[in-house]
Symmetry: C2
DNA sequence: TAGATTGTTAATCGATTAACAATC
DNA sequence: TAGATTGTTAATCGATTAACAATC
């Protein structure tokens, strides 16, 4: 039920034997230092903040980075310490090196192919969003189930039928699929994507999805965000 | 620098004296039982899950709710215990009552007026998104700075000039403003909104914003979400 | 009654942050 | 050297979850 690989840890014909650790994770050849989940979630924010710095600024202290990212200076230093010990005491961090280390830690050094499923208002907005390319993400496909949309060009990309996605995934390595469909079909799409081998899904549809182990899922939900704000509005 | 109120806690002419607690928060007259932030973030998910239940199902156990919301059953019970002790041992929770209690806790019993600032692709998608009304949020205004857009109708709502927002905010009580502008102007818009007295801001622009104390800010960022997925793709 | 499930406790785990020695 | 700032420790805080008595 969990993919075609045998789960006994044996892999006779393959390269260097993979050894599962106590938590069942496989000890991959290229081992990364574990970053705490909370740190991973903050690294993109640091990256965005240092991108907004004037080009003349070559170093930044944890204090200033904390200020502009609305976080705590000790926390900033702790987060950055996971990327190595590269700050200069009495000075701060070299902006260039900081940027490089964050990008490397997040795996932003390679280009990632992205597809968008669902070419309604939101899907079209995503297709027209220019920010992907600069950031190492490239939209390589738009998919929809509506015959009226298939074949159209949106943001310079042709819309293809969702039924062709599995086949397309064999020739193109899709890193991330963005679901921008109605809620009613989102789970079906997620299942299709997981079966097609797409490793990461970003869901914008207003539904709680379930994906098999091994597929990464993140959910962005407008109603959820509004409801959380509502709580704090109500004096919470 | 932090607004016109004196910070010494005195408020001579006002009603019942507000007493700041040790953390500087003001002890408001209508005190709610404090919900942990993590619980607040999960309540919308529970709500969404029970909305997806078949109408024939009148009760749900913490075990089933945990299953469909991808959370832990003990955690579900703990979260719900903050809403009161209303589960039935051996049976579970009445779906109706559960829904009512979550809505009440989140302050979803009153209608909230929402405005969208920035009527590009994303802003238009939001204006056309039907899900607001059902959920107690109502879009009462669209704003843009582009003369070519002002006066147009998008999703049945007229686009007004951003410069009129402060004036409009005096006659209509805006609960939430959604920023869907380019990153370059997002901070300016946030400042304008805060000064106009808008208490909550939901930012979709790819920029890290700063708002005065007392304004609630939540940020939704596509690039951030993709970068976090990238980390886990890279074997993190 | 027997079985199921809640509500709550207590253990554990992870995240945050003040403080400070090390050092630029 | 004096001042500034890092990297790290340790205290604290908050969140998670297994376990179980209470009870439907």
């Amino acid at each position: 039920m969990q993919g075609p690989m045998p789960s006994d840890g044996r892999n006779p014909g393959g390269p260097a034997r993979a050894i599962p650790d106590l938590r069942g994770n496989v000890n991959l050849p290229r081992m990364k230092p574990a970053l705490p989940a909370a740190t991973v979630e903050r690294l993109p924010r640091y990256l965005r903040c240092i991108e907004q710095l004037p080009p003349s600024q070559t170093t930044i202290s944890s204090k200033q980075l904390a200020l502009i990212s609305n976080l705590n200076a000790a926390g900033v230093r702790k987060d950055l310490s996971f990327l190595g010990s590269f700050g200069i005491r009495g000075v701060g961090y070299q902006v260039d090196e900081l940027s490089t280390r964050i990008r490397r830690a997040l795996g932003l050094t390679e280009d990632r192919a992205v597809v968008v499923v669902g070419v309604g208002n939101l899907g079209s907005a995503l297709a027209n969003y220019g920010g992907f390319g600069q950031r190492g993400f490239r939209i390589v496909g738009l998919y929809d189930a509506d015959p009226a949309k298939i074949g159209r060009q949106v943001g310079g990309i042709g819309v293809r039928c969702i039924t062709t996605l599995s086949e397309d995934a064999k020739s193109t390595e899709i890193a991330v699929a963005i679901i921008a469909t109605p809620a009613s079909v989102a789970q079906g799409v997620a299942t299709l994507l997981a079966e097609a081998g797409v490793p990461s899904i970003l869901n914008f549809a207003p539904a709680v999805l379930t994906v098999p182990d091994g597929t990464h899922l993140r959910q962005v939900d407008l109603a959820t965000e509004l409801q959380i704000l509502s709580f704090y509005l109500a004096g919470g």
